[in-house]
C-alpha cells in the first residue's frame, strides 16, 4: 500500500538524502565554531526560534496545514517549563521535558478540534484556540501576568553540566536542536512522512487508498506542537524568563514569516529564515523608529520576488544548473 503512494509522490533519491545529511553536518559544524565570533545568548535565541520554525514547517511544508496559533505551544511550554523549574525545583532537563509534554498534550487537545478543518478555516480555528490560551496565560496566577515568570534558575543539566555559563549552555541547546532536527528529518523521510506528503498533494486520493488521514494529520500536529513546546521551554531557560510575548498572535505570525522567508517545505528553510529574522530584529534595533517599515518592506519583497524563500530559491537555482549541465 505505502509503496503505491510513495511512487506517486516525488520520492527523494538516496543521493538527495545524503546531500541533506552532509548539509546538516556542515550546519552543526558551523554551530560548533560559531560562538568564537558570535555572542552565545544570541545564538541560543536563533536555535530556539529555528527549532520553533522547523516544528511549524512540519505542518505547513509537509502536511499543507497553515497553523496561525503555534505560539500557544511555544508560549505555554515556556511558562510551564519555567514555572516547574522555578517553583517546584525541577532540574532543567525535567523542566524542558515537562514543557514539551505540556505542548504535546495541548497539541492533542487542540489538534482534535482543528484538523477537522482545512485551509483558512484551519488557520482560524488555531488562531481562536491560541487566543484562548493567551487569555488563560494572562489570567492564571502562576504566569505572573505581563511581568511573566522572571529569574528562572538554570542550574545543572543532567545534574552534571553547569549551564549557568552561557557557552556551556549553548552547546547543550545545540545538542537539543540537532536531536530535534534529526527527528524531523527522519520523520519527513519515513513512510509516515510520505503519507503526509500524499495527504498534502491530494487528500481525497489518500483517503481512497485507505489511509486514516485524520490519524496521520493528528500525529503530525501533536509532533509539531511538542517540538514547538521543546523550543519554548528551552527558550525560557535561555532567557531565564517566560512572558506573554511568546503567547501572542503576533508570535504566531512571526513564525509564519520565518518559515516563508527561509522557504516552506524545505528542510533547512526554517533554520535559515529564523536566523535571518532574528538577526534582523537585533540588527534593526539600531534603526529605532524605522524597524517596522524595513521589516514590512522585506516581507513585501520576499512575497513579490522570492516566493520560494531563500533556501527554496537556492535549491531551484541548483537544480536548473544541474539540469543544464
Amino acid at each position: 500500500m505505502s509503496t503505491a503512494v510513495t511512487a506517486t509522490v516525488t520520492s527523494k533519491s538516496a543521493g538527495a538524502k545524503n546531500r541533506e545529511l552532509i548539509a546538516f553536518a556542515v550546519l552543526i559544524g558551523i554551530g560548533l565554531v560559531a560562538p568564537i565570533a558570535i555572542y552565545p545568548v544570541f545564538l541560543m535565541k536563533v536555535l530556539c526560534f529555528a527549532l520553533f520554525a522547523c516544528a511549524f514547517n512540519l505542518l505547513i511544508g509537509y502536511v499543507g496545514l497553515l497553523s496561525f496559533g503555534h505560539a500557544m505551544f511555544f508560549g505555554l511550554a515556556a511558562y510551564v517549563g519555567g514555572y516547574s523549574v522555578k517553583a517546584w525545583g525541577f532540574s532543567p532537563e525535567l523542566g524542558i521535558l515537562y514543557g514539551t509534554a505540556c505542548g504535546a498534550v495541548l497539541g492533542l487537545v487542540t489538534g482534535l478540534l482543528a484538523i477537522r478543518r482545512q485551509g483558512i478555516y484551519f488557520a482560524m480555528v488555531t488562531l481562536a484556540l491560541s487566543q484562548m490560551v493567551f487569555f488563560y496565560c494572562l489570567q492564571a496566577k502562576f504566569t505572573g501576568g505581563e511581568d511573566g515568570i522572571q529569574a528562572i534558575p538554570r542550574g545543572h543539566f543532567l545534574g552534571l553540566i553547569n549551564i549557568q555559563d552561557d557557552l556551556t549552555f549553548y552547546y547543550v541547546v545545540l545538542a537539543i536542536f540537532a536531536g530535534a532536527f534529526l527527528l524531523i528529518w527522519r520523520t519527513v523521510n519515513s513512510p509516515f512522512g510520505q503519507v503526509l506528503k500524499a495527504i498534502r498533494e491530494n487528500e481525497p486520493r489518500a483517503i481512497s487508498l485507505g489511509y486514516r488521514v485524520d490519524h496521520y494529520k493528528l500525529m503530525a500536529f501533536v509532533l509539531s506542537a511538542a517540538l514547538a513546546g521543546l523550543a519554548g521551554a528551552t527558550k525560557a531557560l535561555v532567557f531565564q524568563l517566560a512572558s506573554l510575548t511568546d503567547v501572542t498572535w503576533q508570535m504566531s505570525g512571526e513564525v509564519v514569516l520565518m518559515t516563508l522567508v527561509g522557504g516552506m517545505g524545505t528542510i533547512f528553510g526554517p533554520v535559515v529564515g529564523a536566523a535571518v529574522i532574528i538577526t534582523m530584529q537585533n540588527y534593526l534595533a539600531g534603526f529605532g523608529e524605522w524597524v517596522l517599515v524595513i521589516q514590512g518592506f522585506i516581507f513585501v519583497v520576499v512575497v513579490m520576488a522570492f516566493r520560494k524563500g531563500i533556501v527554496g530559491e537556492i535549491q531551484d537555482w541548483w537544480t536548473k544548473r544541474a539540469n543544464k549541465a
Partner: protein, 403 residues
C-alpha cells in the same frame, strides 16, 4: 556585536594623553534602552537617547578627560528582546550602565541581569514599585517615578479635596492591578471608600461600556488605573458620554505630558495627575525643553526623559569620583552615598532600597484659554515633598533594607 557597530555612538570625547585605565575598555559606555517605535516611544524613545547624550555633553565629560559613549536600542516592549540586548551589551559590547527601560516586565528582567553581571541599571521609564520592593537589588536605582508615588500623590490630594468615593477602570495587567491596589489603599487610609472596579483588557478600543458601569456606580471619582492609549481613549470617551458633566471626576493614575498632548486641552482640561517633572516650572527646565524641542521636532520633554538626563549626570559624578566603573554594585553604593543634584531635578538623595528621592508635583490640566504657548498644558497645584512622595522604606519588603 551588530549592535555595537550600528548603534549610533556619540560624544566620543578623547582628552589627549589621559587614558584612564580604570574604566573598563577605557570608556564609560551608557546604553539607553527603550521603546523606540511602539506604545511608549513618545514617553522616552528617541528623545530619551537625546537626553542621555545631552547629559554627557552638559557634564563636560570631554574637559574632564572622561571618554563617554552613548548607545541605544529598541526593546520593542518584549522582555526577551530586552534581555538579549542587555546581556550582549554587558557581556560583549562593554556597556557599563543601562538607563531608562520603560515597561515593567522588561525592567524586571534587566535588574536580574544587571545583578548577575554586576553592572548598573538606572530605571527612569519603568513604573512598578516592586523594583524597589520585592525585586530590589544592589545594582539598580529607580529614578523618576513609580506606581506607589503616582497613586499616593493623586489619590491623597483628591480625597483631601473631597473626592471620597472611588470607582476604578483598571487595565487587566500587573501594572493596572498595582495602580488600583496602591491607590485604593491611599484612598481608604485617608477616609475614602472604593465602591468598585472594572477590569478591561489591555488596548481596548471602546470604553463606553466600562464608563457606563462607572457612571452607575455613582462614585465621585473615576480612577483610571491604566496607561497610554487606554487612558487617552477612556478620557476621550468619558467626555463624550457626559461623565464629567454628570458630576463625576476623572483621575488619571499614570499620565504623561504627551498623553495630554494627544488628548488636546479641550478634552483633558481639569484632569489631575502626579508627575515628577514639568518643563515649564523654572528657567533651567525651560531652557532644557527649548533645546529638546529644537532637536525632537517640537515635542517637549516628559518626566522620563528628564529623569534619564538626571540619572546620567549623577552616574558620571559617581564614576568620576571613584575613577572606576568596573564594579556595578560599588558604583551604585557610591551613588547612594552621594546627594544628587542637577539642573532638572534639583537636590535629592538615593535611598538604600534604590529609590531616588525627590519632590513630586500634583498638576492640573489647563483650560484651552489659559494655554499661552505650545505645550503650555498644566499648572502645578501642589509640591509633594520627597519624604511623603514615595513609599516608606519599611513597607517595600526590599531585602537590602536592614531592619
Amino acid at each position: 556585536m551588530r549592535l555595537n557597530t550600528l548603534a549610533v555612538s556619540t560624544a566620543v570625547l578623547l582628552a589627549a594623553g589621559s587614558a584612564h585605565a580604570q574604566y573598563t575598555n577605557g570608556t564609560i559606555k551608557i546604553g539607553v534602552m527603550n521603546d523606540q517605535s511602539g506604545l511608549y516611544a513618545d514617553v522616552s524613545g528617541p528623545g530619551g537617547t537625546w537626553a542621555a547624550k545631552k547629559a554627557v555633553e552638559d557634564y563636560g565629560a570631554a574637559k574632564k578627560g572622561l571618554k563617554v559613549e552613548v548607545v541605544f536600542a529598541d526593546h520593542q516592549n518584549k522582555p526577551d528582546v530586552g534581555s538579549n540586548i542587555a546581556r550582549q551589551w554587558y557581556d560583549v559590547d562593554g556597556v557599563d550602565v543601562i538607563v531608562d527601560v520603560p515597561t515593567s516586565s522588561v525592567a524586571l528582567a534587566i535588574t536580574q541581569i544587571a545583578k548577575e553581571k554586576n553592572k548598573v541599571f538606572l530605571g527612569s521609564g519603568p513604573a512598578s514599585s516592586d523594583l524597589t520592593g520585592k525585586a530590589c537589588n544592589a545594582n539598580f536605582i529607580h529614578w523618576t517615578y513609580d506606581t506607589w508615588a503616582l497613586a499616593n500623590g493623586t489619590g491623597k490630594a483628591i480625597v483631601q479635596t473631597g473626592g471620597k468615593s472611588w470607582y476604578f477602570l483598571t487595565a487587566d495587567y500587573a501594572f493596572g492591578h498595582a495602580l488600583e491596589k496602591d491607590t485604593g489603599d491611599v484612598v481608604k487610609k485617608n477616609g475614602g471608600t472604593v465602591v468598585g472596579a472594572v477590569r478591561h483588557p489591555l488596548s481596548t478600543n471602546d470604553f463606553s461600556s466600562f464608563l457606563l458601569q462607572a457612571q452607575s456606580s455613582k462614585a465621585q471619582i473615576v480612577g483610571l488605573a491604566n496607561a497610554g492609549g487606554d487612558t487617552i481613549n477612556s478620557i476621550k470617551q468619558a467626555a463624550e458620554f457626559g461623565i464629567v458633566e454628570g458630576g463625576q471626576k476623572l483621575a488619571g493614575m499614570l499620565m504623561f505630558i504627551t498623553d495630554v498632548h494627544a488628548l488636546g486641552l479641550k478634552t483633558a482640561q481639569g484632569l489631575n495627575f502626579t508627575t515628577a517633572w514639568y518643563w515649564d516650572m523654572n528657567d533651567a527646565n525651560r531652557a532644557f525643553a527649548k533645546e529638546f524641542a529644537a532637536a525632537n521636532g517640537g515635542k517637549h520633554p516628559t518626566m522620563v526623559q528628564a529623569g534619564i538626563y538626571s540619572s546620567v549626570i549623577h552616574y558620571l559624578k559617581a564614576v568620576e569620583a571613584m575613577k572606576s566603573d568596573a564594579d556595578g554594585a560599588k558604583v551604585v553604593a557610591k551613588m547612594k552615598s552621594m546627594p544628587t543634584e542637577d539642573k532638572l531635578f534639583g537636590k535629592g538623595t538615593i535611598r538604600e532600597d534604590g529609590r531616588h528621592m525627590h519632590d513630586m508635583y500634583l498638576v492640573e490640566v489647563k483650560k484651552p484659554a489659559e494655554s499661552k504657548k505650545p505645550w503650555d498644558y498644566v499648572t502645578v497645584k501642589k509640591t509633594i515633598p520627597a519624604a511623603e512622595a514615595f513609599r516608606p522604606l519599611k513597607d517595600g519588603g526590599c531585602e537590602l533594607v536592614k531592619s
